[in-house]
Amino acid sequence: MSRLNRLIRSAATGALALACLVPAAPAAAACSQSDLVGTWQFFFTHHVATPPFWMSCTFEIKPTGAFTADRSTCASRSNVSRKAFGVIQPTAGQSCTYKGYVVVGGIRFELNHATMRRTKDHLNGVGLLRGLSPTIYSATKL
């Protein structure tokens, strides 16, 4: 009898261990403003202009979401570096989606919607140049 009890107990322990190994249904990732803090490499592509163009930017993002002046710049194919100003913040609460804007050379790019990967080191997003013209972008944390 006690042998049977031991058998049942060990089977129950085994089942519990297996249950712990099976991952629970994945919840949506949680992100915060602080996940943006640091230096990011952004690439913007704009397809409406003739010819289409890209812009490569380095943004140093502060805990407030604002870009650090003098450490945030953009350059295009001409390789002329221009200062960039802007801010990026979560769309709501702990969501991993963000919105904001960037101003480069007097031109404003709306960052309408961006999403952070679960690894917290990569963003993809869509936006509008001068509020009208579509642009897409990606960003990698340096």
Binding site: P26, H47, T115, R117, R118, G125, P134
Partner: protein
């Protein structure tokens, strides 16, 4: 002694070959990896006009949330696309792994009257990001998706 040497050598070779194969093996994915909530961005490039009398159309994007069920169906109840102007449209459709267990996916979705084909997408090894390309009657598309 000699037999022992050769058998040890065979074991070592098998180990090395096995390790080599593991390093180059392709990642495996399943439909279950697609289940969940995804943030999807797509840019559509309309084709060039058929004649000089027709206007050129600019590329445009949609930002979408896709709720994918374990069977690969895009749940229209909580899947929606927003266009550049902020107009929202519900979407339905399905996605699946090509060949059943590869990390290459394909699928289709219906956005209003437009049927969009996701010709080929690649799921990252972290199973949280997809890059891909496809088409619709409105033009060629390039897309990416991030698991929320």
């Amino acid at each position: 002694m000699c037999r022992l040497f050769w058998s040890r050598l065979a074991v070592a070779l098998a180990f090395v070959l096995g390790a080599g194969q593991a390093g180059t093996a392709l990642a495996a994915c399943s439909k279950a990896d697609l289940a969940g909530l995804w943030q999807y961005y797509v840019i559509t490039y309309p084709p060039a006009p058929a004649s000089i009398f027709q206007p050129t159309r600019d590329p445009y994007w949609h930002s979408c949330t896709f709720a994918i069920k374990p069977d690969g169906t895009i749940n229209p109840q909580n899947s929606v696309c927003t266009d550049q102007a902020g107009q929202q449209t519900k979407v339905s459709g399905s996605v699946e792994n090509i060949g059943g267990s590869t990390c290459i996916i394909h699928g289709t979705y219906q956005l209003g009257s437009l049927r969009v084909s996701l010709t080929r997408g690649a799921l990252s090894r972290g199973k949280d990001h997809i890059d891909g390309a496809g088409s619709s009657p409105a033009g060629s598309i390039v897309f990416n998706a991030t698991k929320l």
